[in-house]
């Protein structure tokens, strides 16, 4: 199954959600194989238990692809909603939000469809001073007892937590429907993307906050787990109204609530009622949330992407803000002090690989040592060590890589081997004429022993004949089979010329009819006539028996 096509360059696709087909839980896999054979059809059964695990109370930092506003960033973020991009696109929908105690759809019936999953994480924005961060707290101390129960009492969990006034948390935590709306999946084109160490497939889950920061304040955005927090996440959000231009009208109702609580605390204090007494101790009501990831930013100053890019100092390499600092020549060489190998101090020129203009490529090469690449400049008399430095840094980088050294040796060894083979071939060919292909490349890949053997034998056969018959042609011509007259007699040919033609002789080859020698006449025979030939059959049987007895003797058995 292939990936849905990634978006074209410059576009992105938004998806409502991405759910994992197998949510994190414990599973039992039952496998049954029905086998049928002679005796019946038993069923082979096997049961395997396995667990699908996912981040639950902590989030590894490498799951986070990016955050906005940038971590520890300063800038005018007052119009922005903080957001976090998570590399694993299914993460927000991997765990149920309210399995233990369903929250339910909004009461006005205009919510999202019933099968629309609700994310278990939310991004909350806290102003500096509103929250306390706690590290390595036992989970029991973070969530209320009933929530801990609904989480199925996971033992020995330490997690990070954020603590804030309960009233504040209630005021900012999204309702269930809002959580659904604040998380989505993005698919972007990664073709022109800066290299990312972990690599990324272009899919991200994005969780957005619902609180807008105020200018001039410092904020911390906290990705918190809301799993089973039916005490905080409600089916209907707190009442809303259209935002009004004048902010003072709806002045800080949060503090009102707290004030009212504290007055009640004073009233309640003298009460002997134990139940109320309990309430008193709880009254500076704080609530804690499991913290998965958090980062800080400050909402002030100049620092948006736009502002930063517009205010860049743009130029070619070698442009300096104050002329002469550092001193550069017009060729972008930099003066550097150098202690040479004799120990004397000298001033040399250096220019890195990044030049402000196009340079021609040095056609001399290769260089075998750094010294070979040192140059003296005629204008100043000082040395230019740019290329020598490049050589040395290349050498050091390569030497630091053990595998590369091995591969270099392998590269040379292969060439040396082939080169030695070429040398041997040419040396051998001085003594023995070898039948080899024309090009060196093909020669190198010919299996040599048969060729040499053939060459050596042909040399032995030819012997060291007289100079006049260097290739032994005349000697060969003297043999009986090469004599046309003898052939004419032996094959009963019509003429000597015919025999010469068959031997490859050139004289009068054209227009001469060559008859094949007559075949020995043989009468047609059948299997029956052969079988009736009893003498031959007996002889065959005898030889078969002889072979069998031979085999018996060799194997030492009587059978």
């Amino acid at each position: 199954m292939s990936d849905p096509a990634p978006p074209p360059k410059g576009s992105m696709f938004l998806y409502d959600y991405a759910t994992a087909p197998l949510p994190p839980d414990n599973y039992r896999l039952e496998a049954a194989t029905n086998v049928t054979f002679d005796g019946g059809s038993p069923s082979l059964k096997n049961t395997i238990y396995f667990q699908v695990a996912g981040p639950r109370f902590t989030l590894p930092p490498d799951f986070v692809a990016g955050v906005f506003p940038p971590a520890n960033g300063h800038g005018p973020f007052a119009d922005s909603l903080a957001q976090i991009a998570i590399k694993r696109r299914t993460l927000p929908w991997e765990r149920p939000l309210d399995k233990g105690k369903p929250i339910g759809p909004p009461s006005d019936g205009k919510g999202l469809p019933a099968d629309y999953p609700a994310p278990w994480v939310g991004l909350l924005l806290f102003e500096e001073g509103e929250y306390t961060l706690l590290q390595n707290v036992p989970l029991e101390n973070v969530v209320p007892a009933d929530v801990f129960n609904r989480l199925q009492n996971p033992p020995n969990i330490l997690c990070d937590a954020v603590e804030a006034d309960e009233s504040l948390v209630r005021a900012i935590v999204p309702s269930r429907e809002e959580l659904q709306l604040l998380a989505h999946v993005r698919s972007v084109n990664i073709e022109d993307r800066e290299l990312n160490v972990e690599g990324s497939d272009g899919w991200f889950a994005v969780v957005v906050t619902n609180r807008v920061p105020n200018p001039g304040k410092k904020y911390r955005a906290c990705l918190v787990s809301l799993e089973e927090r039916s005490d905080l996440v409600l089916r209907d959000p707190p009442p809303t109204a259209d935002s009004k231009p004048v902010r003072t009208v709806t002045a800080a109702p949060v503090r009102d609530v707290r004030f009212r609580l504290s007055t009640r605390q004073r009233i309640l204090e003298p009460s002997p009622d134990l139940e109320f007494g309990k309430l008193v101790t709880v009254l500076p009501s704080k609530t804690r949330l499991v913290l998965l990831y958090s980062w800080q930013f400050t909402c002030e100053g100049v620092g948006t992407f736009y502002e930063l890019m517009q205010n860049l100092d743009v130029g070619m390499m070698g442009r300096v803000q104050k002329p002469g600092q550092p001193a550069l020549t017009d060729t972008a060489h930099l003066r550097l002090p150098l202690q040479d190998r004799g120990g004397t101090e000298e001033v040399v020129w250096y220019r890195g690989p990044l030049a402000p203009f196009q340079l021609t490529r040095d056609p001399l090469g290769p260089y075998h040592s750094a010294d070979q690449a040192r140059r003296a400049t005629p204008e100043t008399g000082a040395e230019d060590v740019s290329y020598a430095a490049a050589f040395e840094v290349g050498r050091l980088l390569a030497a630091a890589d053990a595998r590369l050294a091995q591969e270099l040796m392998r590269w040379r060894r292969e060439s040396f081997k082939q080169s030695a083979r070429a040398s041997t071939l040419s040396a051998v060919q001085k003594s023995i004429k070898l039948q080899l292909p024309a090009t060196i490349q093909e020669q190198l890949h010919v299996p040599l022993p048969p060729v040499v053997a053939a060459g050596a034998i042909s040399r032995c056969v030819s012997g060291s004949g007289p100079i006049a018959d260097r290739y032994g042609l005349k000697a060969a011509g003297r043999t009986l089979g090469m004599n046309p007259k003898a052939l004419t007699a032996a094959w009963g040919l019509a003429s000597v010329a015919e025999a010469q033609t068959m031997l490859g002789g050139s004289s009068g080859a054209t227009g001469l009819e060559v008859k094949p020698p007559a075949q020995t006449p043989r009468k047609n025979t059948t299997l029956e006539t052969e079988a009736a030939h009893s003498a031959a059959l007996t002889s065959l049987n005898n030889s078969r028996d002889r072979i069998l007895s031979n085999v018996k003797v060799r194997t030492g058995g009587n059978q």
């Binding site: 360059k9 840094v393 290349g394 041997t424």
Partner: protein, 328 residues
């Protein structure tokens, strides 16, 4: 005893006087893949200490961008130096001498595939089979040291061999795009980019996956633009956002969704978080750098409208299977 066919001395003489050695086309003379890939990485200055690139920090001050041409002689020396490892005698020297032109040509091609290797999208062999064979070109690039690099990781960078109009569609202008050879952060705040060819226009785009959400606030009143299903602004009266009584900085997300739902169409139907997200988008910024001949200019081209598509829900079987693959 018979004399040997071939003595080491003769052989060495023959090798030294015969510059061709084994022809570069012989399979055995080819570079082993690891070596070829290492040297191709070196060609793009990967692994070279930053001080060698920028010998003085004042050459790349804070909040600056510097364009450059790569000095090919410098990178050639870098490769020579790397090959010098284990070069102990005249034999290796003669060998390198004979093979230098072939090595050089091969690396000119292989360096184009380094980015694919870096992103582990291809294996070395598939990368080599797919290499473009046109002759080596000038390599240019820039170094950017800015808060924008650390604050907006994974920004999109493209270089073009001509100046394109505003709001151009990157997909349609692909044929003018220069091949990106390297795009990498050297440190949290420094980005290096290398292109093949001389660009007339370079753009840096705010990262798309970080396309932000935002609202327009003026003295406590928040509103959003009306946007069509593909993110284009429709104009008309902005939609004011309800806020919670309890905390006026907390947006009434559910209430806003109901307000937006009334206006569909032309606004997208509020079927889920993706369509909701379209309405809350803030435009990413596309920064252009134009001009050449040593005088690049910073040009503000205005924010651009990304083409947003809201895909159907993940119920599609193809995507579900894919999700399965990711999870397992």
């Amino acid at each position: 005893m018979r004399p040997a066919w071939n003595t080491g001395r003769e052989s060495l003489r023959a090798r030294m006087s015969n510059p061709q050695q084994v022809a570069a086309a012989v399979p055995e003379a080819e570079m082993p893949p690891y070596m070829e890939s290492f040297l191709a990485h070196l060609r793009l200055l990967i692994g070279v200490p930053f001080d060698y690139l920028v010998p003085d920090s004042r050459l790349l001050p804070d909040e600056s961008i510097r364009f450059f041409y790569i000095d090919r002689s410098w990178t050639d020396r870098l490769v020579d130096g790397a090959i010098a490892v284990g070069k102990i005698g005249t034999r290796e020297q003669a060998h390198h001498h004979a093979h230098h032109p072939a090595v050089c040509q091969q690396l000119d091609l292989t360096e184009r595939g380094v980015r694919d290797l870096q992103r582990s999208r291809l294996t070395f062999l598939t990368m080599k089979a797919a290499l473009a064979m046109d002759p080596a070109n000038v390599i240019t690039g820039f170094l950017l040291r800015s808060g924008a690099v650390s604050g907006w990781p994974h920004m999109d960078v493209r270089a073009y061999n001509r100046v394109l109009p505003r709001n151009y569609d990157p997909d349609a202008q692909k044929q003018f795009q220069l091949r990106t050879m390297r795009l990498e952060r050297l440190s949290p705040g420094v980005l290096i980019a290398l292109f093949e060819g001389v660009p007339q226009m370079v753009v840096c785009e705010e990262p798309h996956h970080g396309v932000q959400f935002g609202v327009h606030g003026s003295s406590g009143q928040f509103s959003v633009f009306r946007r069509g299903p593909d993110g284009t602004a429709l104009g008309g009266k902005d939609v004011t956002i309800p806020v919670r009584f309890a905390n006026p900085n907390v947006l009434g997300i559910a209430a806003l969704r109901r307000k937006l739902a009334i206006q569909a169409p032309p606004l997208p139907g509020q079927t889920g978080s993706a369509n909701f997200a379209v309405e809350l988008l803030n435009l990413p910024w596309r920064q252009r750098f134009e001009g050449s001949g040593g005088r690049p200019k910073v040009m503000g081209s205005g924010a651009f409208v990304p083409f947003v598509a809201v895909a159907a829900r993940v119920q599609e079987p193809a995507l579900q299977a894919l999700v399965k693959k990711v999870v397992l």
